[in-house]
Symmetry: C2
Subunit: 256 residues, 2 copies
């Protein structure tokens, strides 16, 4: 007989934050599995669960199994995973739902946010993107997602993969550009704090304007005077100079 | 004899927001100059000033002249500007203070933020970066800056130019990446709203972590499985594919 318990597979950033939020909202987390028993124990202690590091010790009558491990480990783990009656989901942006098709009830539970170990985020505002292989599973996953998030959406695997690529540009690459700014400022002994209001405002603007409308700077104005001056100043940073030129040309040509 | 009046030269985004904030904080704006009398009048009406579009009509006894026009127009305008006793400043990130050396008292008043016509910003939190050619001018500009901003800093021309380049990366280029995300989502009929929490969190993170620590995503994990998958998915967007590869390699190689 199936219980209402949840089993968490993985103890990384996402698994940790998701498990804690489920626990906080009255869900029973039965077990935490990780290849490292220490990592499993660290998380298990916080959510009153059992830590395990062997698949054979996993309960087979849980209602929900959330697999939150690296994409590369996901396929192998799924192969070794016993066939269970409960619902089995993964949390990966770029993996198809069909990866879990050996389970009668399966789906995807993708909290769309960037997670770091040292920065907690409020799950209430995180879009939870759900996909399921049947209506019953879908309804259950939506219920669970709504218990921790105010923003639950049904999304297909095809859409989710595109969302993941969009996120690489809007989050990962964007943060890399913050880092370039950090290094440029550091080089002239300028504290990074000076640019933080600009970074926040740049992000805030797209709450009101779409990014094409919000675009400012020398490239969109085709201000070759400044662009050439910046190119000269980057003479000692050939790789940054190339990048500056590439992105400026893309903006000038309205490419995307 | 010099009055306490301010003359604003320019009626663009920055000139408009700066003039309004000065007016709000009890400064007297005597005149607004713009080549277009209509633009000058629009701003002048809001701040109880006189609109002019001829340099010969400009009062010569104001305390402060703020030139906030395009970099390319700045040099020519400065040449035609009469020699006045008041302080003359420009507001340009990438222009040297020496551009104004024909004036006995001159400086730079650079509000370090991105301005759009349709989005108002709170000047209180905008770093105002000041430079001056003598102590008296410096003290006066700091006093004016502090009347509208809580974040006033002395910055050299050399530092300011570097700050401006850093801003192109952290603001203009970042916004361009938001735009790429917008277009990718639009292509699959996904509302841009879905990615807004991620964009905000990405910006918020650097308030607590430095950008190198905050970096997430497939490239920093050297996750070739996802990177190759994304490269395949971008096969119909050759230019985005090149960009994805370039930035991913930079992140993987820790280049900046």
């Amino acid at each position: 007989m199936t219980t209402d318990d949840i089993v968490i597979i993985g103890a990384g950033n996402l698994a940790t934050q998701l498990a804690k939020n489920l626990y906080k909202h009255q869900h029973t987390i039965k077990q935490v599995y990780s290849r490292s028993i220490e990592n499993a124990q660290l998380l298990a202690n916080e959510i009153n669960a059992q830590a395990i590091n062997e698949i054979k010790k996993m309960v087979t009558n849980a209602k929900l199994y959330i697999i939150s491990i690296s994409d590369s480990a996901l396929q192998d783990f799924t192969n070794r995973f016993p066939k269970v009656n409960g619902i089995v989901v993964h949390t990966a942006g770029s993996m198809d739902i069909s990866l879990l098709s050996k389970f009668d009830n399966h789906g995807v539970f993708y909290p769309f946010q960037t997670f770091s170990k040292t920065k907690t985020v409020d799950f209430k505002e995180i879009p939870c993107l759900i996909e399921a292989n049947n209506t019953q599973t879908e309804e259950y996953l939506i219920r669970v997602a709504k218990s921790i998030s105010d923003d639950v959406k049904m999304i297909t695997s095809d859409q989710r993969k595109q969302i993941h690529i969009a996120a690489v540009f809007a989050c990962n690459f964007t943060n890399y550009f913050y880092r370039i700014a950090f290094d440029l400022l550091h080089e002239k002994n300028i504290d990074f704090d000076i640019i933080k209001p600009l970074i926040q405002e740049t992000a805030q603007k797209i709450e009101q304007l779409n990014p094409a409308e919000a675009q400012t700077g020398p490239a969109i104005r085709k201000d070759m005077n400044i662009i050439n001056k910046h190119m000269d100043m980057l003479n000692n940073h050939k790789e940054l100079q190339e990048l500056y030129q590439d992105i400026s040309e893309r903006i000038m040509n309205n490419k995307s």
